[in-house]
Amino acid sequence: MDTNEIFERLNEVFRDVFDDDTITVTEDTTAADVDDWDSLMHITLISAVEDEFDIKFNMKDVVSMKRVGDMVDIIQQEA
């Protein structure tokens, strides 16, 4: 899957989860950049990303994700 497509689909997920149509994420986006992205919303987000790409992150994946770029790398390996 090419990176552009992943970002496009990720943007949709972020917009749904945070109910904000203006969100556009980049490789360097972190929780600090998105309003309401706290530890609880993080759980919903992870689950929604898993559902979108039909993958399952393991614990090591989840623990190591610090920025959206990390998430994209794992999606590329798994999907």
Binding site: S39, I43, T44, S47, A48, D51
Partner: protein, 592 residues
């Protein structure tokens, strides 16, 4: 009902779009009752709260929530907190799981040691429930425990006292014994739920270790739906009746074409067995008080022949209203509702034909119309939709079908009298009208939470509040029971008036629609006036507060002889001078 919340729902979609759905529900213009719900968790409860809130809003219940700090369920319940004290919950939901069991029997323990551990674990919970009762007397909803997700002793884990499986089973049993004798205590059966969901998926350890969730995230919407069913049922939001199609719903084939010998029901064929099992299921529903009705495109004669098929479980006299004709099904449905005297939204319409379902759905957006697919999945579809969650199984519920049947008899008798008063006399009605009595308090409180149509002020009162009201000197309280030659309707009407010098303000007046047009309201006002006069009251003030459902009593006080003294939008205030009051009831014999 919100499309995304109808069973079977897409859990991921719900989790993802919860904020949007919440906004839509809040802005839907629906009328809500307000309830305070404290969630005391042994694990993270955030998502449970958010999704529970959606299902409750969808049922007309606006929840206000308190969540304990992580894992603080026991401390909060035992010692309270200023925040929780101020919150004063109507409901306390204790969300514990197997992760919160403090000690399991070690393998070297003796039977006595295992028993002692079991008692200790149980007592930790029971003191907490007792404390909650003493502090706020809320409705308590307590999870039982799911099974352990591994078994050190393998299959032996189930029956050896040292097995975790055995320990959990015995602990659950002790919870049920408490539930059996405490009427405001309910079990949220997560043991069944997790098994149904699939324990391996449900108990995915990632969610505990990463987020301190006792279950996987994806299970939460269904979990919350299951929990919401209990709360909805407590506040009278259950469905009351089934309107069933016949051909290919209660039996295989078309009775009008295939003849009664040609339809599939009974043990001859596998499909016949499937329909038999479904008929059994429907019969069991009628035994817990769900009213059965037919809504079918058929000749009446054929419909009855099908219903009395020798291999069938259901008989035609299990049904209260049978509409077998060629009218549209939405029209039949509305007639069924009016003949039963219930709101259309308390009916579940069951039909295998998607086109018929669509017609009903279009005309009655609030009627539940489950998607019936393959006949072998009919039971699961209706059961998992949780229309008929049983939180109380009163003698009244079990007798409900008898009461409806008596109503149909009354209606047919009515047609033989030229004069309505003459008909009322023929019913030989007896009423009992008295101040509240302890045995009826919970029924009276239940009525304040269930009655919507004949309800002047829609004051919802909990059991605990009702007990306070029953003790307070400032009120004049009356409940009324009505029976007639066809049967006993039980407690059907309630008045609470508040005294203020020589004036009595009617804070609550409601009546069950079961006894509409029987002049019971006349008997109640007579009794109220008599009581008021004896306490030196000269004037009674009545209030009408409009809701989405009580238009029926908009001019009720006018009809009872009150004068309108104030109109404020749709609300109104009425007054009655009682010095020269003349009794209005002439048809009911009243004992007090």
């Amino acid at each position: 009902m919100h499309e995304l919340l109808k069973y079977p729902f897409d859990s991921q979609m719900l989790l993802k779009k919860r904020r949007k759905i919440k906004k839509e529900l809040q802005e839907s213009g629906a009328a809500f009752i307000h309830k305070k719900i404290a969630i005391l968790g042994g694990s993270t409860t955030h998502d449970i709260k958010e999704i529970l809130e959606l299902f409750l809003l969808d049922a007309g219940i606006a929840g206000e929530f308190y969540e304990s700090e992580f894992g603080q369920y026991w401390q909060d319940a035992m010692f309270g907190s200023p925040e929780l004290d101020e919150f004063a919950p109507d409901i306390v939901f204790i969300h514990t799981s197997i992760r919160n069991i403090t000690a399991f029997p070690p393998v070297q323990s003796t039977q006595e040691e295992s028993d002692a551990l079991l008692d200790a674990e149980y007592n930790r919970f029971q003191v907490m429930w007792d404390k909650l009762k003493e502090r706020w007397d809320p409705i308590i909803i307590q999870n039982n425990f799911e099974m352990p997700y591994y078994r050190i002793l393998g299959n032996r884990d189930a029956y050896d006292h040292r097995g975790k499986t055995n320990f959990v089973t015995r602990l659950n049993q002790k919870f049920y014994e408490y539930a059996a004798v405490n009427t405001t205590f309910y079990i949220n059966d997560i043991q069944y739920f997790s098994a149904d969901y699939g324990l391996s998926k449900y108990a995915d350890p990632l969610y505990w270790h990463m987020y301190k969730y006792s279950m996987c995230l994806d299970a939460i919407p269904e979990f919350a739906f299951n929990l919401a069913a209990i709360i909805k049922s407590i506040y009278g939001k259950n469905k009351k009746a089934l309107a069933l199609d016949l051909d290919n719903t209660l039996w295989g084939g078309v009775v009008g074409d295939d003849g009664v010998e040609g339809i599939e029901i009974g043990h001859e064929t596998s499909m016949g067995q499937v329909y038999s099992e479904f008929q059994n299921y429907v019969k069991e529903l009628s035994q817990i008080g769900i009213t059965l009705n037919v809504n079918s495109k058929n000749e009446m004669e054929n419909a009855l022949a099908g219903l009395n098929h020798p291999e069938g479980t259901l008989r035609s006299d299990d049904f209260i209203v049978i509409k077998a004709n060629w009218n549209t099904k939405d029209r039949n449905l509305s007639e069924i509702a009016s003949e039963l005297n219930i709101a259309a939204d308390s009916i579940v319409f069951v039909d295998d034909n998607p086109a018929e379902r669509e017609i009903v759905r279009q005309s009655f957006p609030d009627v539940s119309v489950p998607q019936m697919c393959a006949p072998e999945s009919y039971i699961r579809t209706i059961d998992r939709s949780r229309f008929f969650e049983v939180t109380q199984l009163s003698a009244d519920d079990i007798k409900r079908n008898e009461m409806y049947r008596a109503n149909v008899l009354r209606a047919s008798e009515m047609q033989s009298y030229a004069d309505y008063d003459q008909y009322l006399h023929s019913l030989e009605m007896h009423a009992l009208i008295r101040d509240f009595e302890p045995v009826y308090i919970s029924r009276i409180a239940q009525l304040t939470n269930k009655s919507n149509q004949f309800n002047l002020t829609t004051w919802r009162i909990s059991n605990a509040e009702m007990e306070e009201i029953a003790k307070a000197d400032k009120y004049i309280r009356l409940f009324g029971k009505l029976s007639d030659k066809y049967g006993d309707n039980g407690v059907v009407t309630v008045i609470i008036g508040e005294k203020d010098g020589d004036t009595l303000h009617i804070r609550l007046w409601l009546m069950s629609c079961r006894v509409l047009k029987r002049n019971m309201e006349h008997a109640m006002l007579d009794a109220l006036v008599a009581q008021a006069q004896s306490e030196g009251i000269t004037q009674i003030i009545g209030y009408y507060y409009k809701t989405a459902k009580n238009n029926m009593v908009r001019d009720f006080y006018g009809a009872m002889g009150f004068d309108k003294v104030l109109e404020d939008g749709d609300d109104s205030v009425w007054s009655l001078q009682i010095a020269n009051y003349e009794n209005q009831n002439t048809v009911i014999e009243v004992e007090d």
